[in-house]
Symmetry: C2
Subunit: 135 residues, 2 copies
DNA sequence: GTTATATTCAACCAAATGGTTTAGGGTTTG
DNA sequence: CAAACCCTAAACCATTTGGTTGAATATAAC
């Protein structure tokens, strides 16, 4: 249901460009301050000091967080006068969800068909996967 | 479709349990080795040595990665004999996508209606958001 | 031109991360 | 029992991270 020719099995341990970008995106989202900034920017663009204002930390710290987000291409900057206006870019967020749903969707599909197949059983934990362990 | 009363605006900088869990999930996914493990586990459960085999690193390193995934509740372990069988748990993955799509979905909706509103214009960059900068 | 404002850069620091090696605890197997 | 096997624990190391402070740069305002 996906590509089957373009994806080389690849020696695990070699890291593609795409992978490196996902690294940065997920890492950027792994910090509560940065997630709050993304949240905030989803409503409107903002300058650095505007974005820094709600947080109990130095402006420089927020500036660094913004640089992390920028490096992950989650935000773009627009320098206007002496201010730097940051805007959200949702592309990497969609890449991230695509990566995740590749696996969640698979399992929800499988489990849906599984449950509809024996539609009277009460499965107490239908999210942990046991399948065939180490064939 | 979700809670709307339970979410307090919260002093930014205070971190809820939910947030701390998202921290761990996103952090867990920010490493290519761990993502490869998740990928691998989405097909079948596996023992630690089975999971470690494709990687060019010590077993202990993989063991640590698994502990990170376990701490993020992305995997569960089932100790059988002297082996530890790891299985994927998709719940946190769904939490992560829910958090992300909260913002991507908003914008794709907005931009969809925007584009359908002036349905002849060619917008060259409809993913970077500029809106009202620092009202 | 001087001063205030907005932001970045650089140096520094403690703590966490990702890896290693060595040792140890259970569990099978001979 | 002894030896091999699977895995975790602990100590160690280099690098990164997330924060600080202080100086530097550039624009705006006076």
């Amino acid at each position: 249901m996906k590509d089957s020719t373009a994806e080389k099995p690849a020696n695990i341990g070699a890291e593609s460009r795409q992978d490196a970008h996902l690294d940065r995106v997920f890492h950027a989202l792994s910090d509560p301050t940065r997630r709050a900034i993304v949240q905030r920017l989803s409503q409107s663009s903002g300058t650095v000091s505007t974005l820094a204002e709600p947080f109990d930390m130095s402006l420089n710290a927020v500036s660094k967080h913004l640089k992390v987000l920028e490096h992950a291409k989650l935000i773009t900057r627009d320098i206007v006068g002496r201010t730097s206006v940051c805007s959200l870019n949702v592309d990497p967020l969609q890449n991230a969800t695509e990566w995740i749903t590749q696996y969640t969707q698979f399992w929800t599909d499988v489990l849906d068909s599984f449950e509809s197949h024996l539609d009277t059983d009460a499965s107490e934990n239908h999210t942990s996967i046991e399948k065939d362990a180490c064939s």
